[in-house]
């Protein structure tokens, strides 16, 4: 267990949380750490909204003929689950919370390059979320989060435009955050911090920001064109009036594929930090892990057609997209091998963050390998639009990204709040989540191979056993997510006070008190010659 000593009672030291009080000091803050907390609150709310939709769906799917809701409602549930989880939870999650909090600290800066722009990002996010929540409350939308045309532009009478507008607006929040991170990392590193001395979390935030900045504008245009077609009945995507429905798919996936790397790269960065700290070793193959993030970001822009192998796309286009999709798997494999090698001859401890990191590696490996089934043309024909795809991306998004997110929240919680949470309960929750997750999603691989299509409100009876298993798992998973909510909140008030470095980790953020002062560092941070100097003897002041 950590050896936290309450050096100075938190109350008598000024730090970013108590430097000023009142709602205005939060709503008009330009402190990146407070903005991170504003995001934390908002995305947690969106997570529970998206999660509620999932709970209803899994309950409904217990019966082949549908146990709970009408097909229209079911269609709205899976659409809102997708829209809320993808655009309002996963895409901002690590970048806007942990990224905002840690990027300046890890490079030894006082704040991001453009703090006011950062606050604007949050307001833009809230505005977009408001439009989407309005759509949800007024009856929802039932096109699927992918908004394929002409269904979405001409055949449904639900709130497509409000939802699309919400997503459109929130996209600008991502763009501004990405811009902020890129400029900060390029221009504001502390003296001595070369690129190769940066923690791996920063490499992954940088790669993520490249995708934010280059990919998001395309979905903005796509949704805008969709809105134009829907409002003015111009034939952009509707073939009945001369449009091309497959063009929509190309434009949509040009962003939405890189978007999935936006969702996983930050998690990989977190895992790099957790594995190194909890095995007390520098990362094996640092430069390979760093460059693999960039490689993933770059290749990710050229694989979008693997969502469209059976869309009437040409066979030759299929070949190219398939080959490139295999290529993008290699950098991820590099990371997994390097993380595993980092554990070799380490000194491994099992606090909750480490459990999440290890869970990530296992589940991401399985999720990533099932991606090969989908990159492979012949098998994708059978598996496309079945539950296999759902299982694949949930292994990566939930088994991967969400677990990394939780691991990161737990790891940096003492730094953010100045308090320690109860690690015993945290480990219990991590195990419950791991178990519940696998019970929920592993059966879905089998359902998919058997042929159960996605987005089905009713299904043939022979698929019931696997569906019931999945729903049982979902209830366990749901409980697993509630447990941290409880003990983390409890710790804010009643948890033991944390010192600057309860985990004995390396990194500039650990060289400042917990919670940090508003300007992050009381004295200018000293940049070590190498990152992750775990093998070096302890310095007196740490």
């Amino acid at each position: 267990m950590s050896t936290a000593v309450a050096e100075v009672p938190v109350e008598s030291r000024i730090h970013y949380l108590n430097a000023s009080y009142g709602i205005k000091s939060w709503l008009f803050t330009t402190d990146h750490k407070r903005i991170a907390l504003l995001y934390l609150g908002s995305i947690t709310l969106m997570f529970f909204i998206g999660g509620a939709a999932a709970v209803l769906m899994r309950l409904h799917l217990i019966e082949p003929a549908g146990a709970l809701v009408q097909p229209e409602t079911y269609n709205k549930l899976f659409t809102m689950h997708g829209v809320v989880m993808v655009f309002f939870f996963l895409i901002p999650s690590i970048p806007a919370t942990l990224g905002n909090f840690l990027v300046p600290m890890m490079i030894g800066a006082r704040d991001l390059a453009f703090p006011r722009l950062n606050l604007l990002s949050w307001y833009v996010y809230i505005t977009g979320a408001t439009f989407t929540l309005y759509a949800l409350i007024s009856g929802g939308v039932d096109t699927g989060w992918t908004f394929y045309t002409p269904l979405s532009s001409h055949y449904v009478n639900t709130h497509v435009i409000a939802t699309a507008l919400g997503v459109f607006i929130t996209g600008f929040s991502s763009i501004l955050t990405g811009l902020n991170f890129i400029v900060t990392i390029h221009k504001m590193r502390a003296p001595g911090m070369t690129w190769k001395r940066m923690p791996l979390f920063l490499w992954s935030m940088y790669a993520t920001s490249i995708i934010f900045v280059l990919g998001t504008p395309v979905i903005a245009v796509t949704l805008f064109l969709l809105g134009l077609e829907r409002l003015f009945h111009v034939g952009i995507f509707d073939p009945a009036i001369g449009g091309d429905p497959v063009l929509f798919q190309h434009l949509f996936w040009f962003y939405s594929h890189p978007a999935v790397y936006i969702m996983i790269l930050p998690g990989m960065g977190v895992v790099s930090e957790l594995i190194t700290c909890f095995s007390r070793k520098k990362p094996f193959g640092y430069i390979f892990i760093a460059y693999s993030s960039l490689a993933i970001a770059m290749i990710s822009f050229f694989v979008w057609g693997h969502h469209m192998f059976v869309s009437s796309q040409s066979v030759y286009a299929g070949f190219i997209f398939s080959a490139l999709s295999f290529a993008v798997a290699i950098p991820s494999a590099i990371k997994v091998f390097n993380w595993t090698a980092t554990l070799y001859k380490g000194s491994i401890s099992y606090q909750a963050p480490m459990l999440y990191a290890l869970g990530f590696i296992g589940l991401f490996t399985m999720g990533g390998l099932t991606g090969l089934f989908l990159a492979s043309l012949a098998t994708d024909v059978h598996l496309h639009d079945t539950y296999f795809v759902i299982a694949h991306f949930h292994y990566i998004m939930v088994g991967g990204a969400v677990m990394a997110y939780l691991g990161g929240i737990h790891f940096w919680w003492p730094k953010i709040t100045g308090r320690l949470y109860h690690d015993g309960w945290a480990r219990v929750a991590a195990v419950v989540i791991f178990f519940g997750f696998n019970l929920t999603f592993f059966p879905q691989y089998m359902l998919g191979y058997l042929g159960m299509p996605r987005r089905y409100a009713v299904y043939p009876a022979e698929f019931q056993v696997l569906n019931v298993m999945s729903s049982a798992g979902a209830s366990i998973l749901g409980i697993g997510y509630l447990i941290p909510f409880i003990y983390l909140l409890w710790s804010i008030r009643y948890g033991p006070v944390a010192g600057p470095n309860p985990w004995g980790a390396k990194g500039l953020e650990w060289e400042t008190p917990s919670p940090p002062p508003t300007d992050n560092f009381e004295e200018s941070p000293v940049v070590p010659d190498e990152p992750y100097g775990y093998a070096k003897p302890e310095h007196a002041h740490v």
């Binding site: 811009l179 400029v183 221009k187 504001m188 900045v213 504008p217 063009l247 300007d519």
Partner: protein, 235 residues
């Protein structure tokens, strides 16, 4: 001391005059602030390239698919207006570049003059665009709201293709006009800062960044003009 500094139109960062640029607290020095500002603008322009790029891609796809309709729609646009607007914008890029030069040289009056000239040219551009839009409304060529083209306007091409062209026309030029309005606003802010004496040779990168933005919006127009107004050539 300060009076003569103002009268000569030159700005000097003297200890008494106090034109020390405001160093934001997150930066170590003014150099870092300047570099971050410029780099940030370049990144922003990269996002804009992808933004317009996606629209251009859709446009090009449909132009290939529906060439007769696009040609008909394009001939319905007034190329003379388009050419005038192009010259106006090119001139405004010149005045913008002169503003940046003036800021760099510390010549306040010149800076203000060229900023106003650029803004004026931008407003002329917008005025011409507004006039063009009004003409299109009268010709009933506004998709979705008022689209009843006369048979001659179609030139034998299918109506939906001409409507699609007009849709792209309004979307692309409208988006461009929105960027122009923002740009004019940005220049207005620069003018206010210049008037307040906050622009100096040591601290002129905001004008430089505004200049980058202005030139980018101009370049977008340079692509839009032939793509929209000159389909099928003009003889």
């Amino acid at each position: 001391m300060s009076e003569s500094a103002v009268n000569s139109g030159r700005l000097e960062a003297t200890a008494t005059h106090g034109v020390t640029p405001a160093l934001h607290h997150q930066f170590e020095d003014i150099e870092q602030q300047r570099e971050a500002g410029n780099f940030g603008m370049w990144i922003f322009l990269a996002t804009e390239m992808l933004f317009f790029g996606a629209i251009f891609t859709a446009y090009i796809m449909y132009r290939v698919m529906y060439y007769p309709g696009f040609e008909a729609g394009s001939r319905g646009l007034e190329a003379s207006f388009g050419a005038t607007m192009t010259f106006v914008l090119l001139a405004s890029s010149f005045t913008m570049a002169m503003s940046v030069h003036a800021a760099h040289a510390g010549k306040r009056r010149m800076l203000l003059g060229f900023l106003f000239a650029t803004m004026l040219l931008g407003i002329i551009f917008l005025g011409l665009k507004f006039t063009e839009y009004t003409h299109k409304w009268h010709e009933q060529l506004v998709p979705g709201l008022n689209f009843h083209p006369a048979a001659e306007s179609l030139r034998g091409a299918p109506e939906h293709a001409v409507e699609l062209f007009m849709c792209f026309y309004f979307f692309m030029t409208g988006l461009h006009a929105l960027h122009m309005i923002i740009g004019i606003g940005l220049l207005g802010v620069m003018a206010i800062l210049a008037w307040q004496g906050k622009i100096s040779p040591e601290n002129y990168n905001r004008v430089e960044a505004a200049g980058l933005y202005w030139h980018f919006v101009d370049i977008i127009w340079i692509y839009l003009f032939p793509l929209l107004y000159l389909v099928g050539g003009r003889y």
